[in-house]
Amino acid sequence: MIKLENINKTYFGAQPLHVLKGINLNVEEGELVSIMGASGSGKSTLLNIIGILDNYDEGNYYLAGKLVKNLSENQAAEFRNKLIGFIFQSFNLIPFKTALENVALPLFYQGVNRKKRNMMAMEYLERFGLKDWADHYPNELSGGQKQRVSIARALVTSPKLILADEPTGALDSKTSAEVMQILREVNATGITMVIVTHERGIANLTKKIVHLKDGIIESIEENDPDKMDFTKEIK
């Protein structure tokens, strides 16, 4: 699903910053992978590159078999829209849109007509138990509800890949566990998932843990989350 070959990325500022120094990584379809690393290790940059939000200087990145390199803004937008669902730490829901409208937004960019996309959005909200909250605005929702809305938004286009950037970073431990449970369930339906986190407890719930340090992959740890009892304290 994801194939990274010798990815290099340098930020050119006052002081050039070599963030990624040759990343090689394969993620198979349906895998649940977490990327761990201290702050500054380059994990967010890596996620941005995987999410086609940022470009890279050297190497090759194949997403679903297609080379992702030097894409135009339009092509990148289309890739993101069709293949990737994003989940952010701070949810990034659009504040003046209702939960339903937020979930339906990616479909709007696909050109799906309103009736159909509202129907689909409602389906996903229902799936995450938010049917009654469909007409509420983000500021009327709890953190867990917001994250569930944003998961629904990520899934509504039936993407092949879900990228989650610290999905539990803004949540308490109980809600974190709930959200992780949902993400695992989503992964169980066959959707590839990459989670960036700095919390060991979250990483322990994934099957593959990629440790990033100073722009290189330090180690890749195989993990069996089913051995973990995620109802326990995960922080």
Partner: protein
């Protein structure tokens, strides 16, 4: 571009900041409003001035003989000279491009004493001797009877056509004036018509309104002027240049009266075409000024919209970034920002246009639209063309105000939304 979904998206963002949108829109509203008011007022003055000069042939030239200013062919300078009827014939025969030519004689009567009487009622009025075609130059409506005709001229009949004011003052508006005998400068003439001039502000030798008009031949006999007359008025035919024509006529007259070919002072020449052209240039100047001021005001409104949109875009960086991450293409973002400023501008502009037009039509109701001689401000409304132009300007300014914010908006990358700051 303007399907329901997009309109919804745009409306949501505009409605989110009602006060700000309203204030922003006010700039554009005010610009268009002022433009409409100015244009309407400009038209009002235009119409007012035009109504003052309408009814007078705008392509006419008046020539009046004065004194020669150069010695020539043995004559001293300062010689008095007159037009005569054979000059008229000569001009008609030799000069091409004259549409109409008419001789006029007048009698000096403005000494303040009453000179025109019917019974015991009297008044102080001018007297003119003309040919029938004079009514085509200094136009008026015949409200009783007829104008001077060819038979009057041929037989030098003692008849007259009187101006409306003469009729009202001397005869009285309740009486049928036809056939009555009035006494003018001691001689009786029979009234055959009453004329109401379309305009009484532009004239030579007194307004028709306050004139007793005689057949030219009658006046020549009554005042012993032989075949002489005082003024010559002619109009230029289509395709001829008035200035050239004037020179030709002057040269012919100089030749016929032994006046030096270089003697410009021997004539007094009123070129009405030039005068009216001056009006035209004046109005053109006013119009250009109005558009500059109006567009300038509008432009500051446009800058306002642009400015606020820029701030809005800045504030919405995160939201736009999220939209980009979710798959919004740059084109869509541009369209949305453009549509936002377009909608804001168009709504405000149309309101400004409508209110401006409404106010001016109320004003026009007070001012009225009947031409009369002392009105300087008439029917101050904008035409259909100007309204269309204003609408086009509104749309253009909407686009203009959207360009900068839209460029700024597409510079926002999806990654900006992800960055935790």
């Amino acid at each position: 571009m303007f399907d329901v979904d997009n309109i919804n998206e745009i409306w949501q963002t505009i409605a989110r900041n009602k006060t700000r949108s309203l204030l922003t829109a006010f700039g554009v509203f005010w610009g268009i409003f002022i433009l409409v008011i100015l244009l309407a007022c400009g038209n009002g003055f235009d119409n007012g001035i035009r109504s003052n000069v309408q009814g007078f042939a705008t392509n006419s030239t008046f020539l009046i003989p004065t004194y020669t200013t150069e010695a020539y062919k043995g004559y001293q300078k300062g010689r008095n000279w007159d037009f005569n009827m054979s000059d008229l014939e000569a001009i008609k025969q030799k000069i091409k491009g004259i549409e109409m030519i008419s001789p006029i004689s007048s009698v000096y009567t403005y000494n303040g004493e009453n000179n025109v009487f019917y019974g015991i009622k009297g008044g102080n009025f001018g007297m003119k001797g003309v040919l029938p075609n004079y009514n085509d130059i200094d136009r008026g409506k015949i409200i009783y009877g007829r104008f001077i005709n060819e038979t009057d001229i041929a037989e030098a009949r003692k008849v007259c056509v009187i101006g409306k004011k003469v009729y009202e003052d001397v005869i009285g508006a309740d009486k049928n004036p036809l056939g009555l005998m009035i006494k003018a400068n001691g001689i009786y003439y029979q009234v055959v018509g009453v004329i109401d001039p379309y305009n009484s502000n532009v004239n030579v030798g007194g307004s028709m309104n306050e004139t007793v008009v005689l057949p030219l031949t009658t006046m020549q006999i009554a005042y012993h002027t032989g075949n002489k007359f005082d003024f010559l008025v002619f109009t230029t035919a289509k395709g001829y240049v008035t200035k050239d024509l004037q020179e030709e006529v002057k040269n012919l007259l100089r030749e016929r009266h032994d006046i030096a070919p270089t003697d410009e002072g021997a004539f007094m020449c009123f070129d009405f075409e030039q005068l009216f052209n001056m009006f035209e240039y004046l109005f053109l100047g006013i119009k250009i000024l109005i558009w500059i001021v109006g567009i300038g005001t509008l432009l500051s409104g446009v800058v306002g919209v642009s400015n606020i949109m820029l701030v809005t875009i800045k504030e919405r960086t995160r939201e736009i970034g999220v939209r980009r991450a979710l798959g919004a293409k740059p084109g869509l973002i541009i369209r949305q920002v453009m549509a936002e400023s377009l909608l804001l501008t168009i709504l405000a502009g149309i309101v400004g246009l409508v209110i401006g037009v409404a106010i001016m039509s109320v004003v026009a109701g007070f001012v009225g639209n009947t031409p009369s001689e002392d009105v300087m401000f008439l029917d101050p409304q904008i035409g259909f063309g100007a309204a269309i132009a204003a609408t086009i300007i509104i749309v253009l300014s909407g686009l203009l105000s959207g360009v900068l914010p839209a460029t700024r908006a597409i510079q926002i990358k999806a990654i900006d939304a992800i960055r935790e700051e």
